[in-house]
């Protein structure tokens, strides 16, 4: 957090050491996310997917830092802007891409699409098309963990806009009174669709809302993968120690429009530029002292993985219309 340009950090904790190898892996995942989404955009423009999608380009550090601090036993509840968290959680790019293209081989057999990618077997409880839709569910996962008496935690991801939904209030309050092992990860990318965060609430930090529930709240630079890791790591430790939930606000920015139909009349190009200068991938590569060549070749590796994912997805079969009624009831 020493490198954070924002004075947003409210934790005094000394920075935990991530090994160079770990940081290197994280960088790769961030690159993979970026290439995944760029490819998704391409496919969309080529008419190979329909529907909509929400890209998180620019926000990769938050996803990778957060998942990096959790274990394979933990749970993830993801958002509509969730490709990054999904990949950071360790999901396979090919099965994700197949889902994105609506194929039978996709994580959800083509029934869910971009906004609903899940892998319950890996405790990835899915992206959610409903803003704040994951928050009430996280309370139940917390209760379940407590009842089963395991050392798990659940992380629920949501946006700045989501923090104005009633579900935010009810869920954090419940998690607090019951001391549940829930990490509330608020990705503050400064906008909810066209609504700037400063117009949607009358406070400076979303994390200040934690006080309304008597829980820990912290704001970190969401473009600093290490800061995010640190905050989630601490929150996890508190949760497992029975100290209850934490609200973590990660300040970051989305470079692309909200979704495909966004003309971005609500912000300036300059503003976007300013944030691009704080690019999380460039920053981590810089911190790692990588040469341009090293960086390029790592990006190449990510591209190759994405290319294979696309090949897999394109070669995969469509769902059979005869199976259309499947999966409504168990």
């Amino acid at each position: 957090m020493a490198k954070s340009k924002n004075a947003q950090t409210s934790q005094a904790a000394a920075k935990r050491k991530l090994s160079e190898k770990q940081l290197h892996d994280m960088l790769y995942t961030m690159m993979l996310i970026r290439r995944f989404e760029e490819k998704a955009l391409d496919l969309y423009s080529l008419g190979k997917v329909h529907g909509t999608m929400h890209l998180s380009i620019g926000q990769e550090a938050t996803a990778v830092g957060a998942s990096g601090a959790l274990t394979q036993q933990d749970y993830l509840l993801n958002t509509h802007r969730g490709h990054g968290h999904c990949l950071a959680w360790g999901s396979q790019a090919d099965l994700m891409m197949a889902e994105f293209m609506g194929k039978e081989t996709g994580y959800c057999r083509g029934r869910g699409g971009s906004m609903h990618i899940a892998n319950v077997d890996a405790n990835n409880l899915g992206a959610n098309g409903i803003v704040a839709g994951g928050l009430p569910i996280s309370v139940g996962v917390g209760l379940s963990i407590r009842a089963r008496n395991t050392e798990q935690v659940v992380m629920v991801v949501f946006g700045d806009g989501a923090s104005n939904e009633g579900a935010f209030h009810e869920s954090i309050n419940m998690a607090s009174i019951w001391n549940l092992p829930v990490i509330f990860l608020c990705e503050n990318n400064q906008y909810a669709m066209s609504m700037p965060v400063e117009k949607s609430m009358n406070i400076d930090r979303i994390s200040d809302r934690a006080a309304a529930y008597g829980i820990e709240g912290v704001t970190v630079d969401g473009n600093d993968v290490e800061a995010v890791y640190e905050a989630v790591h601490n929150a996890r430790q508190r949760a497992v120690a029975g100290k209850g939930p934490t609200l973590i606000e990660c300040n970051t920015y989305r470079y692309m429009g909200h979704s495909k139909s966004d003309r971005q009349a609500y912000r300036t190009r300059d503003e976007v530029k300013t944030w691009m200068d704080k690019d999380p991938i460039e920053r981590l590569a810089g911190n790692l002292g990588m040469s341009k060549d090293d960086k390029d070749s790592l990006f190449k590796k990510a591209e190759a993985e994405i290319e294979k994912a696309v090949e897999f997805a394109e070669a995969s079969p469509e769902p059979d219309v005869a199976d259309i009624m499947e999966g409504v009831y168990a």
Binding site: Y75, C108, R111, A118, L135, P136, G140, L143
Partner: protein, 334 residues
Amino acid sequence: MPSANGTREITYVEAVREALTQSMQADERVFLIGEDIGVYGGAFGVSAGMHAQFGGERVIDTPISEAAIVGACVGAALTGMRPVGEIQFMDFITLGMEQLVLQAAKVRFMFGGKATVPMVLRTPGGSGTGAAAQHSESLETWFTHVPGLKVVMPSSPYDAKGLLMAAIQDENPVIFVEHKLLYKVSGPVPEEPYTIPLGEPNIVREGKHLTVVATSIMVQRAKQAAEELAKEGVEIEIVDPRTLNPFDDALMIQSVVKTGKALVVHEAVKTSGYGAELVSRIVESEAFDYLEAPVRRLAGLDIPIPYNRNLEYHAVPQVENIVAEARKLVRGDY
């Protein structure tokens, strides 16, 4: 207390409680969550004593946060538990519709059939207690319009216990609608645990002149109406779907084929009520060719439930209304 034929008789509320208790004893994954269900025992006393018996970790009192109650059930169900949520009055489920309809009901399908959400949401519906328009709703039809949900409405203590135990064992989200006025109704209920398969209707009474399809408290009223009508030589057959959705309508269709006439009765308002679905199923089926009269619906008036006792009484079908409608249909007098 034992009934005439020796089976123990208990009330509907006791039957629900027994189903919950036995389910919790049999399966550690089952827990209860809702407002005032702990020491208070629930607004209608359903969980009386259960907090003392099972403790606060399995009988969980919540703040007033209906959306989060439903969501808590979804999350727990997705991760290996079998939550049973209580919505204190059916009306308040309007606050939890997103979690119920867009999450609980859809998650399995959206995830390609790779997840299950085995949860039950119990809630008391219906009018007759003077609680007025915001505490007297009959919203079950909405839920039958949501693929992925099962909707159960027991009309007797026996059904309440058996259906609730089945609902808790079911792998799907189930809305379990109790009726406030039924809570005190007694009937024979075996002590041992048992289940009644979801989806199977019940022929509550056999008859030959008219098929009356009724749900929840209207089954009780139809039974009383049947006694009146029997005095006049009119024998009605009463079909109780029990599970409103998914509903195997074969028995109902058969019955209408036999009687040639059908009357559908429910408490919810008539327009777009469940009765419309039943009528449609009847006229779309082979029973159409056997119909000797139009199929009729007797349902709640298209108004919010009024506070005044007399208005409230007249807002929904009563025994005398069923008798009158049945008579008209049987006599061809419509």
